[in-house]
């Protein structure tokens, strides 16, 4: 855990826009910690453009020099396809920066709020954006109904 603590210190924390949960089969609060935002830069190792949520993986080097493979969960592929994503939007070898929220279980898993691509574009990760949400989220990022 000591290694983990120093690694966490290497993460750039800052206030992110509150996530708008549009997860296909679960809400935000049941998996991710709104009090644990993170920004990580790393190299894409794998992209899973599949249901019920996309997953992609980054090799991220911490300040201690250790490389950890992080998993990021985005929206449903259908939803983000309509927002401009394609299955090759992220390719192995791409260096990208992801903003999101860490999983509550403390594993190397986080939601993807946005991802900045090598060409400079910043894509919404499917946790908000084009999907309509006029009538509120089930559980806001503050955890309250």
């Amino acid at each position: 855990m000591k290694t983990m603590s120093s690694f966490m210190l290497g993460l750039a924390f800052f206030i992110l826009p509150l996530p708008t949960p549009v997860f296909a089969h679960h809400g935000f609060a049941v998996e991710f910690d709104k009090d644990n935002p993170l920004t990580l830069t790393g190299t894409v190792t794998k992209m899973e453009f599949m249901n019920p949520h996309i997953y992609f993986y980054l090799d991220v080097k911490g300040k201690d020099g250790k490389v950890v493979n992080w998993a990021f969960e985005g929206g449903p592929p259908n939803v983000i396809y309509r927002q401009g994503w394609r299955k090759d939007t992220l390719k192995p070898g791409d260096v990208v920066t992801v903003k999101g929220f860490r999983a509550k279980d403390g594993t190397h898993l986080a939601s993807c709020s946005t991802v900045k691509l090598p060409d400079g574009r910043e894509m919404a990760g499917g946790t908000g954006g084009a999907s309509q949400n006029a009538y509120g989220s089930a559980v806001a990022a503050d955890g309250k109904k």
Partner: protein, 238 residues
């Protein structure tokens, strides 16, 4: 003998009578009966605003019974049937399905094809009644009747394992849904759903949402394809 049936005059008179008849029928010469006029065309791909907390559309919490309030107070998103990839249910599929749905309409049946989980509803519009003592199912038994420009859908026989939204509003197998799909114009439907469930609610309550035509196609969906989240989910209430 003089011909009293001057052809052009006869034709003009006939045309006048036909036009008079058409006008009297509101332009629906095919049926000759306004009550039998063709219903609005609801075919197409549609979507309602994503409403994972139905109380936000209502403006307050539903009129819970004591039992219903106690159930809602302890309910946790962790137990949402969707996290187990179970079917979304008829009304939630429209208001909290994230993804669009397609209506395929014929005279005797109207189907709603949900992109979410690739599930579907069958709404019988052939005049049948609900079956007696049918076992509850994930989408219940739906019958529809046209009331002018509005399709009125009555649904019973619902499995009490479905939720009404992501926030954890539940129901019993006594839930009775009445939905009104009113075609407003070519690109919009006014959808009103009334929830009646004496076990959970003290009185019927309704929400109304706008349904908008979507410029897209129904896409593939399989909840189990790459489901990895369940192992990471944690309860949100102690």
């Amino acid at each position: 003998m003089k011909n009293y049936f001057h052809a052009p005059t006869l034709c003009a008179a006939s045309l006048f009578l036909v036009l008079l008849f058409v006008n009297a029928c509101g332009g629906r010469v095919s049926s000759g009966n306004p009550q039998a006029a063709a219903p609005p065309d609801l075919n197409g791909i549609w979507s309602a605003p994503f409403t994972p907390d139905i109380s936000k559309a209502l403006g307050h919490q539903p009129p819970f019974t004591t039992y219903g309030a106690a159930r809602f107070a302890k309910e946790d998103e962790f137990d949402d049937p969707l996290t187990k990839c179970l079917p979304i249910g008829p009304a939630r599929g429209i208001q909290a399905g994230i993804m669009p749905f397609q209506i395929v309409q014929t005279p005797a049946v109207l189907t709603i094809l949900f992109e979410n989980q690739h599930t579907f509803r069958i709404i019988h519009t052939d005049g049948r009644s609900h079956p007696k003592d049918a076992d509850p199912t994930w989408f219940g038994d739906s019958i529809g009747k046209w009331d002018g420009d509005t399709l009125v859908v009555d649904t019973v026989g619902l499995d009490d394992r479905t939720w009404l939204d992501t926030a954890g509003h539940e129901h019993s197998d006594q839930l009775h849904l009445v939905e009104r799909f009113q075609k407003v114009d070519n690109n919009s439907i006014k959808w009103t759903v009334t929830f009646e469930d004496p076990k959970f609610f003290t009185e019927p309550w309704s929400i109304t949402l706008p349904i908008a035509r979507q410029n897209t196609e129904i896409m593939s969906y399989s909840c189990e394809e790459n489901e990895k989240d369940r192992a990471h989910l944690r309860r949100t209430k102690k």
